[in-house]
Amino acid sequence: MNDYDEPDMDDMINDYIADQEEGPPEDEEFDEAPDPYEFEEKQPVNNINTNNNNNNGVMNDNAANNDTAAEPPTSDDQDEDEEDDVPKVISTDATSPVAVSSLPRNNGNDIYGFERFTGVTGWRSTANTMTKAQLKQSKNGATVMEATGWKKKKKEEVLNNSDDISMNDDDSSIMDTDEMDNGRVRSKREMNSSNNGPAVADAQLVRFRERQEKECLGRTWGMVAATNWCGMNEERFVHGKKTNMDSSLPRLGEDSMAVTIANGTRTFVKRSTRTIVGEVSSNKADEDDKEINLLGLPMSELIRRADIIQKRAIRRKLEREERYGKKADAVKEDNAMDETDTNKENDTSEDKEVPEQIVKPKTKEEIKRQLEAEKHRREVQFQQRLWVDKHAPTTISHLLSDERTNREVLRALRGWDPYVFKKDAPARPTPAYTRKYQGQQQQYNGKGNSSKGQDDKNRGKEKKNGDDDENVNNQKVDLRPDERSRVILLSGPPGVGKSTLAHIVCKHAGYRPIEVNASDERSASALTERVTRAMESSTLKMGEDSKSGKAGKPNCIILDEVDGADAKSSIAALVNIVRADIPGPSKSGGKKGKGARSTYLRRPIILICNHKHAPALRPILPYAKQFDVQPPNPERLAGRLRAVLSAERMSVVAGGMLLHRLVASTGGDIRSCLYALQFASARARELTMKKRERDGIQPGEDSGVIMCDISSTLMKALDKSTGLKDMQGDVAGTVATVFRKKKSSGKNKRQKTATGASSLVASDNAVDFVLESVNHFGDNSKTLDCLFMNVNRVSYVDPTLDRCSVAFEWLSEADTFRSHKSNVAMNNSAEHHSMQKFYIPTAAAAIHVLCCVETKPDLTFSTRPLSDMNYQNQANVSLVQRFVEGLAPRARSGVGGGTNNVVADVIPYSLWLLSAGDGKHSLSKPVSSVEMLSVEEKVAFSAHVATLRALGLTYIKEDFGFNNARNFDNGPNENVRLEPEIDKLVKFEGIDNTGRKQVPALLKELLAHGATVAALRERELEAKEAQDASEKVALKKDAPKEVSPSKLPFKASTTPAKSLPKLKTGNNSAAKNFLGKRAAKAKEAKSAKRAARVGFDRSKKTKFANTGSGVELAKVIRFKYQKGFSQAVRAPCPLEDLIN
């Protein structure tokens, strides 16, 4: 059984690492990889639990499973259990740290080990890291069964697997000539039977692949194909062909692999792995020659490691037997284990039929059901995941982005180490260790991982720096990186893996990434709070950890998508934090900032954006260490895609070419590549299923693992669209498309010469192309504006200007469709939208037909003039508004009615009215006092002041500031201007307004003063009028009846002399009159207080109100004035009710 090896492989990795390195490379994972033994204590509870009654307690099994598992395992169960349980059993071995570590990843993690063996540079550390990551996860996640943890693991596994598989593909499936395949099969068979060295290597490869297929995808596939639990086993073995399960299928428990022979038949190759020890050496030379390229490691090395693992497995098994042997349940289980172990160790192809017979049917059924349910759940869960997540890289060496960038980012992050981790000094590697480590690595890797080594070296160097810093720190110096590189800014196109890079680097450097992306609130305050909290919480944790000796993880904030719309304020807030110095020298040392309330940057921040030159980001640039993340190397990306495909049990027959095409068409966008593949594969899977159904293959009767070939679907997908990635054209591209003649349509050139009409028959092809590209760009309004800006710039042949005018007609037409004023826009927004969608590109196409040119036109892509115009227009509109508001009410109703009139007539002529004029009555004499003016001039002066008042204008002295040179050049004239400066509105370039003479500045000041005085006088007059009126009213004490309040105000104030005598006077008391007045007054007065002040009877000198109004206290009537523009209806009521 393949699975038997899993624990081995896990162990293999771990042990090997342990052997080689005697502990985790702490410089890398000092935080992530605490001593494996450390959580040994934590785990056992869990593990032992599962162990005790396990058998089928897979990492994701539930309680029910455990219950049933308590039953003595049947042979059939054993099979299953062997697959799934063995790893667990081993992992549950609490004594072995390595086993513990293997527990969580249980399935397929061994692949990492294999990756290591492939000798690809960097895998070594990968595996290493992985292990530790696993450890960490298991530690963090407390229970392995946590769904998230599981997911994570899955992801890691699959991803790592995928790389592995790609290697496999390279050697087996890709060079899939018949002979090759057959030969391989044959040779494998031979190898298997003879148990020779090469067979081992090959077998291992096969095995890994098999296992990983099973682990990663078997479930997925099983959903479709397998109806019974046994299918789970079988599906791995039964491929493609309808076969007799008993005979031609590999027997259960047999180690075998599926091989496709050229004619498409799947056969199964028995495989044995026993031979690991010893025999290899004989074939070693051959092996090296043959396989070194594939594996990158000498086979002997592989074998040696396998050997170690094997031994260890045995040892562990023995230990376990010792420990659990007493328990009755455990005995059987151990028997099973024994069996499996034996299987594994001896590589026998012993079948499991005997144990199968022992199975208690009931238990079997139960287990079957449970497992099926469980399987189904997992399948669904698994299948629903996006490949992008599933296959996301988990370690720094898995990243597809440029290694150099990765390294640099990491180094930049490490720049924080002295500050953040100084408390963790013991956990950090010494330079000596680093050297040793490197030595080991060299020895281990043969060639060694140069980048890694360099990284380590760098780190060592930095470490030294850190030490220096720490020393300096004792002298209270800021340990943080230089202000210029305090935050890290990653920029690059979408889908190149910036976020992934940030996360992984964070983890790698020992931080806990805290991501703040566009989905979170990122207002300045929210962000500040978040950042502060993140920094502070980690501080506390660090402190605690430093005591307990456990490494807590400091936070590292990742601000994703910072160039979003709302970034401006938050970036400003961020800059403040970044710039802030550590408050006091006392706080900079020791436990940093425990008492510090103020916010300063205590943890690294990684910013991620698409365009680092986005205006919003400008403030932070000086403080950021900037990295451009470039799209990955196409080769690498294609390779990775292939690996992913293999992991997903998909194959691409056309091989790399198709993938390269995909990569090219997406422009190196990893994400969209994966989406495309997932899409294509889903389709392919569907097709395959259908085909199988057609062929009469029952889904249940054979396995779910089908290798689908997605090449056809992928090809279709690639062909259908010009690019899978949206042709996200920019303005430039789109507009250029419109104006540039397509090369293919060259023959139209001849037609074009004749008349405009004939040229209208441009090739449909070109029109389609333009339509498409405009549609792709999407922002129709912008396109339209750009076209408008460029129509005149392009020098197409147009002697009659017909084309030009028609083009403009199109533009004009299109403009009406984006407006919201049309009937359609009003009534049917959906229709309006679709019209917009349709007509604007059409206009572009029309312009293409009319105006396209052969040569590259000189185009502008800025619609700045339009927006500028809009902006300035807005400013002027508000200026007009101000002017209108300043007008006196009557003027406003008359002259100020309608903006059009104001702008077209009133303002221009106002300026004429305010000009100096000619002749001796002109106001052209610069005098400093009104007295110096002649009589005529005084008349003109007062007329001018009156005009100013009528228009609500005045002159104000403009403060240019002393450093403005204009002051001296243009004389003082410039200084005094109209307020509001409506003269701005009548300035047109090239129009001289010399006919309109300016009033000298000195005089302007006088005029302004005059206007002020006039205004005051007016106000006074008004007040006096009001008072007069009220007094007059008061005089008419014996007015017989109250006056209609509505009538009064007009009469009282506008023409007091005339109207007052006409007031109704009756036999009513003064109070009544007063009230009448009062009621009217209330309408215009803005405060009741002021109204109250206008007394009704000043002659009586008795007791006065304390308002100082002189109103008799007894007669003061208070009422509330309800503000509002319209007068509420007041019900008529006798005055007597109000008085007294």
């Binding site: 077209a904 009215l913 305010l914 509505s1046 007009f1050 523009f1125």
Partner: protein
């Protein structure tokens, strides 16, 4: 106060021209209860507003002349606040809801409802004064005093369609307590349902003689001697826009202070607005040369005009008028057709400059063709 406002007639009886119209209005005012919704339309400076105010004065008495400014803030359902300036008296509200831009609908709904929710204070007065009315001025009016308020909406043609649609029902629903007087330049921009609910009153632009007569009256009131030639000249230059004519007259008065401040010379040049001169300059350029380069240059000028808040329709109209001066009759028709076409487009479209420039391009093409035909 500017002469325009100072000498604005405030009563129907003082109106000088359009006497038949004045009579109609007087008969309307005589029975205020039967006053329908009104839609005044006509070119700018024809006297629409003056007639509206005079009518109100006639209906409500002098109280309608007592104006005050009011600034109201409306909150739209989208929580946007809109400030609207309005001029109010006790009897009416005058406002330009078009200032609210796209939110004018809410302004209209709010204001009309608010107006309609309270009765006119005049009715209160009527109730009170029922017994002892013997005063000459009031006696005449009170008996027929309207018991509604009036909402004067200016620039109705600038209203969005939603706002106009919002008017429809409210006009009927609240007609008991609230009458609408709409005022616009172009009734074709008012939707049919609204037009149908209004009595349309067209105020044509006064002809040159009428304007000259008004000018003479104003001059006399200001005790200025205005030569007939200058009066005619001004009224010609004013494009039959009385407001402008009066402003011109006043400008003439200000600028010509040579000998005596109160005597204007017949040869006095009439000042023009800068933007008109600018447009005529533009027109000359267009006629002089037709090329894409020239088109580019005109764009700059159009920008400038638009920036200075000159309405696109006004620009187009003025430009066409200037162009027509230098055109042969044979193509005038076509040019005007296209001008009308693009004016319509302006009112439909979102960016005015597109249509202005499209018109100029079209004109250039037409003119070029005309020239080509002429010489070939």
């Amino acid at each position: 106060m500017l002469w325009v406002d100072k000498h604005r007639p405030s009563r129907l009886s003082q109106l000088t021209y359009h006497t038949t119209l004045t009579q109609r209005l007087e008969s309307l005012a005589a029975d205020p209860g039967g006053l329908p919704h009104l839609l005044f339309y006509g070119p700018p400076g024809a006297g629409k507003k003056t007639r509206i105010m005079s009518l109100l004065r006639q209906v409500f008495g002098p109280g309608a002349e007592r104006l005050r400014l009011d600034k109201r803030t409306f909150t739209t359902p989208t929580k946007r606040t809109v400030d609207i300036n309005m001029i109010t008296s006790n009897y009416h509200i005058e406002m330009a809801p078009g200032d609210a831009g796209l939110n004018d609908r809410f302004v209209i709904q709010d204001v009309i409802k608010e107006m309609a929710s309270s009765k006119n204070i005049a009715t209160v007065g009527m109730y009170k004064e029922k017994s002892g009315t013997n005063d000459d001025d009031t006696a005449k009016n009170t008996k027929k005093k309207a018991d509604y308020k009036v909402v004067v909406l200016v620039e109705v043609d600038k209203l969005t369609r939603q706002a106009q649609a919002a008017l429809r029902r409210t006009m009927e629903k609240y007609s008991a307590s609230c009458r609408l007087i709409l005022c616009c330049n172009n009734p074709s921009k008012v939707i049919d349902p609204v037009r149908s609910r209004c009595l349309g009153i067209r105020v044509a632009a006064p002809n040159v003689d009428e304007i000259a007569a008004v000018l003479k009256v104003v001059a006399r009131k200001e005790s200025i001697s205005l030569p007939d030639e200058l009066a005619i000249n001004i009224s010609r230059e004013s494009n039959r826009n009385l407001r402008r004519a009066l402003l011109m007259l006043e400008s003439c008065h200000v600028t010509a202070r040579d000998e005596s401040p109160n005597a204007l010379k017949a040869t006095q040049p009439v000042p023009h607005t800068d933007w008109e001169r600018y447009i005529s300059q533009l027109a000359k350029e267009i006629v002089k040369e037709q090329s894409p380069q020239r088109l580019m240059a005109t764009r700059e000028k159009l920008y400038e005009l638009l920036i200075n808040c000159i309405p696109a329709q006004v620009i187009l109209k003025t430009l066409v008028m200037e162009l027509l001066n230098s055109l042969d009759d044979s193509i005038k028709g076509e040019v005007i057709t296209w001008a009308a076409f693009y004016e319509h487009r302006i009112s439909l479209g979102s960016k005015e400059i597109f249509h202005l420039e499209a018109f100029i391009a079209k004109f250039m093409a037409i003119y070029k063709k005309y020239l080509a035909d002429l010489f070939a």
